[in-house]
């Protein structure tokens, strides 16, 4: 991992096409501005992690389709 220091207002350039600028520093929070081409996905890592974990949980559920249909049927009755 490359570690470098930047001051407020300073920028780093990645691959000649992505610019990351330190906009504001307050306590332990840093506000960052990122300029990148539209085909570059920028996401908070927590979100990606959360999607992955939710997928893993969704896939590991063992459901019986027949039971699912029965439950849905009951649910429909209860809701109507």
């Amino acid at each position: 991992m490359l570690v470098l220091s930047r001051k407020k207002g300073q920028t780093i350039v990645i691959d000649g096409r992505i610019e990351v600028t330190v906009l504001e520093v307050e306590g332990d929070a840093v506000k960052i501005g990122i300029s990148a081409p539209r085909d570059v996905q920028i996401a908070r890592r927590e979100l990606l992690q959360s999607v992955r974990e939710t997928n893993e949980e969704a896939a590991s559920a063992t459901i019986d389709v027949g039971q699912l249909q029965k439950i849905a049927e009951n649910l429909k009755k209860n809701l109507s």
Binding site: V51, R52, L75
Partner: protein, 145 residues
């Protein structure tokens, strides 16, 4: 082709029912081919069944049916990956997590599965700028019952 699945037992899938997910699905990046299987009597539900691993499947729902206010802008990068030209070619699904009971099931609205029916391409799109989450109650009326 016939595949052996955990959910349906033996399942007959035509080549035309198979969608290619070039990026896989987060957590399952190795799995690239899925079929969308309807569930009899379950309106708005379907199953995204992995073609190459019968034990892997996701229950999905039509998010617009369960969340009438749901909308999102398909990011350019994803539209490119899906070769999406006409919104009419796209089919949108939300992955459902079921814990013990269907009543407390949740849908992942921040990461919809978008399928280009014409190009037979699919992708789980992550709406990075959205305030939506990965766990929205499918049946809020019965929440906590």
């Amino acid at each position: 082709m016939k595949i052996e699945t955990t959910l349906f037992g033996e399942l007959e899938i035509g080549e035309e029912d198979i969608y290619s997910f070039p990026d896989g699905i987060p957590g399952f990046e190795q799995d690239k081919r899925f079929a969308l299987v309807g569930l009899d009597g379950l309106d708005g539900f379907a199953c995204l069944q992995c073609v190459d691993r019968g034990e892997l499947s996701f229950i999905v729902v039509n998010p617009f049916m369960f969340f009438p206010d749901y909308e999102f802008q398909l990011p350019d990068a994803d539209a490119g990956r899906l070769e999406a030209e006409d919104p009419g070619d796209l089919s949108v699904w939300a992955i459902v997590t079921i814990r013990d009971q269907l009543e407390t099931a949740t849908a992942n609205l921040v990461a919809p599965v978008v399928i280009n029916l014409r190009k037979r391409l699919g992708k789980q799109v992550i709406l990075v700028a959205s305030r939506l989450g990965t766990r929205h109650a499918l049946f809020p009326a019965t929440k906590g019952v």
